[in-house]
Amino acid sequence: MREVVIVRAEAVSALGDTRSETWKRLLARESAAAPVTHFDTSPYYCKSAATIADIACEDTDSSRLSLLLQKLFKSLPNRLPNSCKLIGSTLKGAIDQQEKVWRRSEISNPGNLSPGKSQPLPWEAAKYIADHFSLNQPGLIVNAACASSTIALSRAAGRIAAGFDDCILVWGAEIISEFVFAGFASIKALTPDCCRPFDKLRNGLILGEGAAALLLMSAEKAEETGSKPLARISGWGVANDAVHLTAPAADGHGLYEACHRALQRASLKPEDIAAINAHGTATIHNDKMEIAAFTKLFRKNGNQKKIPLHSIKGALGHTLGAAGALETTIAINSLQEQRLPPTVGLIQPEIEICNQVAPEIQPFSGKNLLLTNSGFGGVNAALILQRT
């Protein structure tokens, strides 16, 4: 199998239009949570999210998504290397545009859904990106709930490692729409106050919007094109809990299996992991599940290895299908600087991980970082990033 490297990683988040700005403000313990202003939140018990201020477009038929992607394009080259492909993820694409169509419709017409008339929302987003890079094909669009872009990265890494491709741009993008906001409110997953990943008093997530793009290459292609590797992707794994549609497995067995598969692929042992970027949504059940999985994974001969871990969702919100890609860009900085950003919102950590998670910057020493995401439908995905 060939070595897979990330040679470019860019991000737009509610804390900044670039990866470096986002990183800087994460280290400063800032949170982007603020009252949502682009739709009326008065009917909902939660009012806040981590939105991007200057992508509002209420008066037109355009979408916040196109403005978000335009921001992302500013940090990316206009042309991709020859033969570069695309793999991306967005759960709902320009759903805000569709909302406007539905709101105008007096009859129960679901809108333009038929092939040839209008394309699926994620496909249109992918085509928008392909057009920007003058590519004929939008490439693969992965949907796997909140693990979508993590699995997109796995797909890309797998194809490059197997020699099927040399270069793939992986992207993830998600906006905050009333559709999604109302949905998460309806299942009582949103916090009415502060998002506190891994805190004893956590009571829900905040939504976030953001986009990220990562250019993956084989090590040979990177050398050939003079691209400096930022990190390697050495392992990946996916597994399903198969226990409940929306709730994660209480014992974390699906996440454990995904991590186990990633470690196997990377030919690593749990003790080789130096830091963890956890999913950490701050819902009661998700964080409990992750603690159970990590506890099992890092227990050896009765001893528990305490690996530093963090979640960025208290600062940037949950960006759903884009979460894995966005978090991977942050994890690259973590590996390079050997420190994890603070887990914003954390006050009183759960007892099982009280020495692993912190509201301050956590230094660590080592070259392997485990990154995980989980989602509805029992999906769990894990990546292992390696410092170059």
Partner: protein, 260 residues
């Protein structure tokens, strides 16, 4: 062995096709019992016998139609491959159980419509009374919700993902499944498509769910049910799909080649 420009540098990867199941407006079927499915206009529906058998498991009645047809077609495909202990229609109480090693089975689905009708139904509840938006509908506003339902119903704990495609073909999803069986962690993958279009559209003929069971080539075909229909291969460089070495543009023509 198919040949194309990439065959010299990339080996073709092969898998066995062992099960076929579908649900559409004309009913439901399995590869070993029925002719290749026709795709008539109309809204697909899960036949009562299948619905009843699956309803014994939790939540089937709460599933949106998109999920119902998808889960039922996956169940039929697994049964056709000999991986359900009993045909779904014969089960009346508990969830159907598979005889698969659950750690090795994945789900990869292509979709064009995704769950758009459910999206629309959910948003109607948001429009009407936002504070009473339906949680029961919201959980089915993901393209992969029905895969989650299938995973828990049939104890499938491998890779779970959907891919969006502009036209119903499923060739990419099948190629990904073949690739995963070759380079990934799963030994069996259920792959295919699931679509539910607007009833007013001209795309009705493609509404429905059609799934295949693909398995790694092991050489251990021990039971009649475990016979292969065909060998599926894919050039991973070009993503061209082959059925018994014949190029195959989409899942519908693949089924016609096999079932007649």
């Amino acid at each position: 062995m198919p040949t194309d420009s990439a065959s010299t540098s990339y080996p073709f990867i092969k898998t066995r096709l062992t099960g076929i199941g579908w649900v559409n407006a004309s009913g439901s079927g399995r590869g070993r019992c029925d002719r290749a499915p026709e795709w008539p206009g109309g809204t697909p529906a899960v036949p009562a016998a299948i619905l009843k058998s699956l309803k014994g498991g939790s939540r089937f009645g709460r599933l949106d139609l998109f999920s119902q047809i998808g889960v039922a077609a996956i169940g039929l495909a697994l049964q056709d491959a000999g991986h359900l202990q009993k045909q779904p229609a014969e089960k009346s109480d508990n969830n159907p159980q598979t005889d698969l090693n659950p750690a090795t089975t994945g789900l990869i689905c292509a979709t064009t419509s995704s769950c758009s009708l459910t999206d629309h139904n959910f948003f109607n509840t948001v429009k009407d009374e936002p504070q009473l938006a339906s949680p029961g509908l919201f959980v089915y506003t993901l393209a992969t919700s029905f895969l989650g339902e299938a995973a828990l119903r049939f104890s499938l704990t491998g890779l779970t993902m959907a891919v969006t495609e502009p036209r119903p073909q499923a060739a990419d999803a099948i190629c990904i499944a073949i690739e995963e069986l070759t380079t990934g962690d799963d030994e069996i993958i259920v792959t295919g498509l699931c679509n539910l279009f607007n009833v007013d559209s001209k795309a009705l003929q493609t509404s429905g769910a059609l799934f295949l069971v693909l398995e790694k080539e092991t050489g251990s075909e021990t039971t009649p049910e475990n016979r292969s229909y065909a060998t599926l291969s894919c050039n991973p460089h070009t993503n061209v799909l082959y059925c018994n070495n014949q190029p195959c543009p989409d899942i519908f023509s693949l089924c016609k080649m096999i079932c007649g």
